[in-house]
């Protein structure tokens, strides 16, 4: 290839990158808002309230849509955080990596079945403080815990301008009430979680 042709190709690549930048910025601003804010705060057999995100959480979420609800039923109180990374994929991280980075030590890590898939229950310790956190990703049809699958589904959906699949959401649940003996059975009592 001659030097002039080579240079022409190099500028052509830059032109494609510039066009792609504009195309994806325009597409991003035209994206539909997710239905997260339709998730009920209370319903049959459970009650709850919407919680505010802290300033640090809001800064981390950026343009991503998210909700934080506290649900209660009998002795159990659960805080549910749902993040839709459609407008900011960087707001969705691998929870195991994030929690370790936040200074927690993972003492155990077990999978548990939920409707149409499975979630993961992580036991955490930070000094004397102990906490259990359950999480899963949902594409509306299946629930899974592999972050690599989340990345793949999110990438395919973006690459096809939303034609294939949907943007998966990350659901994180932790308890603020009594100890939960069986997460599968407790989560089954909050059908609202299984609608996400």
């Amino acid at each position: 290839m001659s030097r002039t042709n080579g240079q022409f190709l190099q500028w052509l690549i830059i032109l494609f990158v510039v066009l792609a930048t504009f195309a994806f910025k325009i597409h991003a601003t035209q994206q539909q808002h997710s239905s997260l804010h339709d998730v009920p705060v209370s319903g049959y057999g459970f009650d709850g309230r919407a919680l505010e995100f802290s300033d640090a959480e809001l800064a981390f979420l950026g343009k991503a849509e998210a909700i934080k609800h506290e649900y209660s039923q009998a002795d159990y109180r659960l805080v549910v955080v749902v993040v839709d990374g459609s407008n900011n994929r960087h707001a969705v991280h691998d929870p195991i990596f994030c929690l370790r980075g936040a200074g927690y030590e993972t003492t155990s890590n077990t999978e548990f079945p939920i409707i149409n898939g499975h979630g993961q229950l992580i036991s955490l310790a930070n000094g004397s403080a102990k906490q259990k956190v359950a999480f899963w990703f949902s594409n509306g049809e299946q629930r899974y815990t592999a972050f690599s699958r989340y990345l793949a589904e999110s990438a395919i959906n973006r690459l096809t301008f939303g034609a294939i699949g949907s943007q998966p959401k990350m659901i994180t649940v932790y308890s603020t009430g009594g100890r939960i003996p069986n997460w599968s059975s407790i989560l089954d009592r909050f059908p609202v979680l299984m609608d996400i």
Binding site: Q10, I13, V17
Partner: protein
């Protein structure tokens, strides 16, 4: 002559600058993410070595420009920082001679990536040791690059003409 060289290099410079701009979030990761601590030092080591190895008379490769451009487009589409970081590494390679030491330098570039922090976490390295591991490997790779580059120079000097 110098103007011609600049014109020839301009697309590569633009791609590298744009990739760096899109990757600017990396500084926040280095600052706040425990697994990414030491990333700025690993980057400084990698960048210093790049400045030493970079040559002005290297002909830009269309393949590398295409690969870096493709990474930028895919990164924009998928909103994945790691692809932008990959674009920087490929675009930086445009300014290095096509020799083994440049490819070793490319590999050493992976050490400043936040993706390397994630990999360290996944293999069970503690966050308190992450910076030490990252910087030690960056220094080790620098030694490897210097050895390869020096060996190559000696080979060229004693090659029969």
């Amino acid at each position: 002559m110098k103007t011609n060289m600049l014109t020839e290099k301009l697309p590569s410079i633009i791609i590298l600058t744009y990739a760096a701009f899109l990757s600017s979030d990396v500084m926040t990761d280095w600052r706040y993410s425990p697994f990414d601590s030491g990333g700025h030092t690993a980057f400084a080591i990698w960048f210093s070595l790049w400045l030493v190895l970079a040559k002005t008379d290297v002909k830009p490769s269309n393949f590398l420009s295409f690969a870096a451009g493709l990474c930028l487009i895919l990164g924009l589409m998928m909103d994945l920082n790691v692809v932008f970081h990959l674009a920087i590494l490929i675009a930086a390679l445009q300014f290095l001679p096509r020799e083994a030491c440049s490819y070793a330098h490319l590999i050493s570039g992976f050490l400043w990536l936040p993706a390397f922090g994630y990999a360290m976490a996944m293999v069970g390295i503690e966050e308190s040791s992450a910076a030490t591991v990252r910087i030690s490997l960056a220094l080790l790779m620098t030694i490897v690059v210097v050895i390869i580059a020096t060996t190559r120079k000696l080979e060229l000097r004693y090659e029969p003409h």
